[in-house]
Amino acid sequence: MSPIVLLGRRTRALRILLFVVFVAMILRLVAVQEFSHQRYASLSSAELTQTVTVPAVRGGIYDRNGEVLSESVTKQTVVADPYLIKDPGTVAASLAPVLGLSADKLRSQLTEHSGFVYLAHRVADPVASEVTALNLTGINLVAESQRVQPVGQLALPLIGTVGTAGSGLSGLEYQYQSLLAGIAGSKILLQSPNGVTLPGATGAAGTSAKAGTGIELTIDESVQYVAEQALGAEVLAAHALGGTVVVMDVKTGDVIAMANLQATTSGSSTPSTGSASAVTASATSSTSPQSSSGATLIARADTLPSGVEEAPSNTALTQVYEPGSVFKLVTFSSALQNNVISPNQTFSVPGSLSIGAYTFHDAENHGTQSMTATDILDQSSNIGTIQIAGALGKDRLLAQIGNLGFGKPTGLNFPGESQGLVPGPNAWTGSSIGSTPIGQNDAVTAQQLLDAYNAVANGGVMVQPRLVRGTISSNGSMSAAHASTTRRVIDSTTNAELTTMLGGVVKSGTGTSAAIDGYTVAGKTGTAQIPDPSHLGYIPGAFFGSFVGFAPAEKPVLSAVVVLDHPTPIYGGAVAAPVFSTIMEYALQHYGIPTNAAATTSTSSGGIGGTGSVTVPAGAAKESA
């Protein structure tokens, strides 16, 4: 074979080889670019980028006038990258006085074998500025959200707490977690292979966080404060274990105040500073005080008298108790509605009555006496009420219990809310017709009790209570919540009779301490024994004292319930009724509800007293506290 021919064949072979290689390269290129590009792109980005979660700003909680009750603010947290710190001793010495920490502790933190160490959480702004001014290599500030309650612990059992992770743990913070939390975003950072963020390459892409939705409560900060003050003073004066107050707008069902207090046990009292300057002092301190739940309470000026503190839970909704005489509303409303009794019908009431294995007495021993139905309610006669219940019968009594909302959820859906315990037909015993009508065989929440009396105040129409007036989007626009649902539970005629009878309780009965100068008040006292959980029967000397009522009786605007746990004296008329009077007097004046005299004068001119449809205003009563 000639060299020329050989050369030609080699050339041809080389060409073919090159062609094959070229085709292979093209095929590989197509495979990489078209079919595997996502895999390689992700591998590349995984080496170059780091996705950081950007937490959403949690929505605030406001009162009905827009005052802040709970809000999230951004604070700076001081962190260190020990790998970048060459001289930990010098850095620690510089930082220690600024952060208020010991230099030795800082030095040990700065020498840890880690790329990220927390030095101080959520420092005050001046401290953050000082740290920045030091310009220390390896010391950085990262933003952290902090939940603050500017009004201290006011209404804390209702509002609830937020954990260090920013999630609601209790109360409304927990109930509305999904609404308040918002949607977290993400930020993609470019970084070197050893994890150092590349300068100028922050925020390459990602999704922006969506701020949480705020909620505006029906609570009025001022009335809440007065309610807590009055209740706290009475808890101390009566040596009670605790107490509950709920104030409600009669027409709308808006809960104006919901206070839950307990007496402090030795050593568990929340530290209070006792002066206004404490707010400033704590707000500007290097590190804000932090509660056990993680939420920081900036304002610790006295919300409460010394010796009482906020209850650990919202007992107005979560705790049930035997209501006692305040439950007689059920018996009387049903008896009047079914024409079993009339207000002036006379009964012969003996001193005691034996039913089944039990003997029932009135609070005060007496012989057989003649009493009208109105007298029976005024004097809170157990025997008279049992006689009326006997005439009414089991079925109608149980029907009215359910009709007034006992044993059912209130509709608030509050976390841990109890729907109470009421006897069903199957649990009815021989003595039930004696105990149930006087509020002994059942357990209710303070809110359920108030709902029933509020129905009387509202002309026999029950209004579902509500705690949230609306939601506030991140751009500030408010969406009003749906109005509360209503249903008639007592007919108008019966309701008018019942209102007059309840007015007599305050005018000349057991609830005279609930009277308010210038206003007529209607309500009922209750003094209930506390069942012994370990034995059959009741704890000797242990009572719940309560009062529930509304004002002004002619055109009710506000209703309220006051319950005291283990008070001394034990009677609701002596311990709970004065608290009702104090709170209601303030609230009526706060909302500009005219006194009886003023209402009479202004009726002809169509004033607020003459409209007959008065509701508690929002955003109009901010001037007084």
Partner: protein, 147 residues
């Protein structure tokens, strides 16, 4: 086998005979070279200007967009800082206007709760307001007369 003589004799004659030169096939007379150059020059110039101009436009537009991005980033950062400050101030205001703080401040200023609350009577708007009693006699208000 030898080729035929006739073809062998003919081939050198063909090779040696000079091929007749054909005139160039031209349908149109070509333009003079100088004219052609002068006509192409403005086209090149315009094209160059357009290309350079386009590139410059792209550079300028990119610069404008980059500046806008920087301004946007700065504005967003300022807005975020302002939002944080607004929240902090809102909380500070809420702290200072908290009921317990207002009560403490009021007590420091010597304020007390009212012992009695009185509603003022409603007065119709068409009733003339009473003349305030200044405590001076009507004669004192009379301007002096000239003698």
């Amino acid at each position: 086998m030898a080729p035929p003589a006739s073809s062998a004799a003919r081939r050198p004659a063909v090779r040696n005979a000079p091929a007749p030169r054909r005139p160039p096939l031209r349908l149109f007379e070509s333009a003079p070279r100088a004219r052609h150059r002068s006509r192409r020059r403005p086209t090149m110039l315009i094209a160059s200007v357009l290309i350079v101009g386009s590139l410059l436009s792209v550079v300028v537009a990119d610069d404008v967009v980059a500046q806008g991005q920087i301004r946007l980033a700065n504005t967003q950062r300022l807005a975020a800082v302002a939002l944080i400050q607004q929240k902090q101030l809102q909380v500070a205001v809420a702290q200072l206007s908290a009921p317990q703080i207002v009560v403490i401040k009021a007590r420091q200023l010597g304020m007390v709760s009212p012992t009695q609350f009185v509603d003022l009577p409603s007065v119709p708007l068409n009733v003339a307001l009473p003349v305030p009693n200044t405590g001076q006699s009507s004669s004192a208000k009379t301007p002096p007369t000239t003698p």
